[in-house]
Homo-oligomer: 389 residues x 2
């Protein structure tokens, strides 16, 4: 019996537990100061009525013999896959229903997709980055190289033709930096992937925040992407589904590697190791894509974007360099000190809690992430305190 020894190579992440401890200690020492948490990546607005109504109806159906549903197709109900196709059509992207796979969120699918690739592939991951891109590949023993984000490239690293990668992670709008790739920039990545026969794993979890019409909200808006990219999306941030759990993954039929259609491999993976998303949740997700649902979620996104605007307005007044905050719920600010020192100082002086950039990779050192997912009054109070700091 051998365990998977790659697990022993994983670094323990103490990022959020370390933050929690520091906040606890601060609150104990300063009971008079109300802390304001702008560190979380979780949503705070409730589900919209279109979604709760649809889920309530589905719960009722499941309680009646005539309308009860057992196993659904592992890749999701057709009604939801068609709704996703409709959502893409609005972006000018034509998908077949069988190119869409319903899953329980982008995190699961981003991890599980690796099953279909060999452990011998080299993986290219931006730095700073959502930590699970790294950890899921360490678990599989893959070689990892990094694409460096920096002030110079606005934390939007571009391909380096001297370097060869097989699997490339891109996330736009980006977590943690809030930076968004332009069409031209994504087209360069697509060209690089096609040249190298690489596959791009495109994390579009924050696509709903894109309001600039010229910015791509799907990699399939770039010609050729259907031959080199898999796209992952989630309703977590789109419609407050972080606790409801539903996402979707697009694997185009045109995407082939080693003579195999990746769509077929992923279908086989999912039918073998997954049993579909809750019917109740799928009905809620379907409602997100209805006219009523899209209208209702828009005001929630507007709310978070206005929070982001309040943050960036303050940073501009303070003359602090940042990315994000437009077309994204995150603001990534230069903090003029090591990330953790700034964290301590901000907490001590203002009671505001953010996320040290160093927690997202080596290139995050010296930067700090503020999230727009809080309540308006908290964001405004936090900014007032930062102005006085």
């Amino acid at each position: 019996m051998n365990i998977n020894k790659n697990f022993l190579e994983l670094k323990d992440s103490y990022l959020f537990s370390r933050i929690a401890k520091k906040v606890r200690d601060f609150s104990a020492a300063h009971p008079e100061t109300e802390t304001i948490r702008l560190g979380i990546g979780d949503v705070t607005l409730p589900l919209v009525p279109a979604v709760t109504n649809a889920m309530s109806r589905a719960v009722s159906e499941m309680g009646e013999r005539e309308t009860f549903r057992g196993y659904g197709e592992e890749q999701g109900y057709a009604f939801l896959r068609l709704a996703v196709c409709g959502y893409y059509a609005e972006k000018g992207v034509t998908l077949e229903e069988s190119e869409v796979f319903i899953g329980d969120g982008a995190k699961s699918d981003l991890g599980n997709i690796l099953d279909i690739f060999s452990g011998s592939n080299t993986v290219m991951i931006p730095d700073p980055v959502y930590p699970v891109y790294v950890d899921t590949n360490v678990m599989a023993g893959r070689k990892i190289i990094y694409a460096n984000g920096s002030v110079e490239n606005g934390f939007l690293p571009m391909p380096d033709r001297r370097v060869k990668a097989d699997i490339i992670y891109l996330c736009s709008p980006n977590n943690p930096t809030g930076a968004v790739y332009s069409r031209e920039q994504l087209a360069e990545w697509v060209a690089y992937a096609l040249e190298n026969e690489a596959v791009i794993l495109f994390d579009a979890a924050y696509e709903i925040f894109i309001r600039g019409n010229d910015l791509p909200s799907s990699i399939y808006q770039i010609t050729g992407a259907e031959e080199c990219a898999i796209e992952f999306c989630s309703l977590s941030k789109t419609a407050g589904f972080t606790g409801v759990r539903c996402g979707y993954t697009v694997v185009p039929h045109a995407l082939k590697r080693g003579g195999a259609a990746l769509n077929k491999l992923w279908l086989r993976r999912q039918t073998t190791k997954f049993n579909g998303v809750s019917y109740i949740v799928q009905r809620g997700a379907e409602a997100v894509f209805s006219e009523e649902g899209l209208g209702q979620i828009k005001s929630g996104i507007d709310y978070y974007l206005e929070n982001a605007r309040v943050i960036t307005e303050t940073l501009n007044k303070l003359g602090i360099w940042f990315t994000g905050g437009e077309n994204a719920p995150y603001v990534w600010m230069k903090c003029g000190a090591p990330s953790w020192d700034y964290f301590d100082s901000l907490l001590e002086k203002t009671g505001v809690v953010g996320t040290p950039g160093a927690g997202f990779g080596a290139n995050g050192e010296g930067f700090f992430r503020l999230s727009a997912f809080g309540k308006r009054e908290d964001v405004m109070e936090a900014m007032r305190r930062m102005m006085l700091m």
Copy 2:
């Protein structure tokens, strides 16, 4: 770029699509005969009121800002893990809350657990078997050996000390055979696993059907199992959750291999590649384990067990050898012909649809699975027709 070439070794399963085609053809040729499907492994009774009420309340909570919940812990809410601990306590098994992991069903966890083991391990799988045990290991390129079920051992294969395995799958009550291991038999497997430092993956998805007090409904009722077994269970058959999606996996803290606690490895796997089960679903699952819920689901299990009794009564009258049907929702009958020939003949003569045993492995040839998950009137009509056949 290399794909995972092990996927190319997977055999396509045409079992259920082949059955569906044959039924379609039969119905087209014999529109006057109503077919009766005793082939499905899916439940037909709706969710009980305790569950739908709890889920309706949870949906309402998610629609209000004050009670909305975002991300939960990946391993499940404490309220549900504690409810599972309570359920095990009734079986005389003491678990810590941190030994219980909530997942979206046994199929997912049984597949994903393999992430924590090396690809170099030898896997022992009973034959006949739930096909995904085989496929998930083929995907990872593991060597597979089989433990042979037969009429002689009542389709309850026992360990062979001349053979060494690292990972052992056991399922009791068994799918597809309905056979149930005794305490003494499971104790032999536990002893074998401990001797070989193997890990037993114990699939307890049908434990709720066990009504004989002397039969083990958890492997942890066997001394020493906490040092060699992981148990998987699901609410799919327990409470009709096949379309709701919730299960749980128990990894005892005492289970260590290669110097590592498997509980810690699985926790790391789940926190990295999974984001928890829907809050709404977890509230429904919690209600299953309430006094009200357990009372309500009991009558559903009684119903299915009575269906099974009707089937076995008929087979006894017909003098047909079988396993299962007691403490299990499946009846595994000897069909006196190749499985598919019997399938054709049964369909042709009676319109009854079952599942050819050959679909579950080489040792299933010559056998046939009947399921008790149908409606009582259908089961009775099917048995009436088989008596006349």
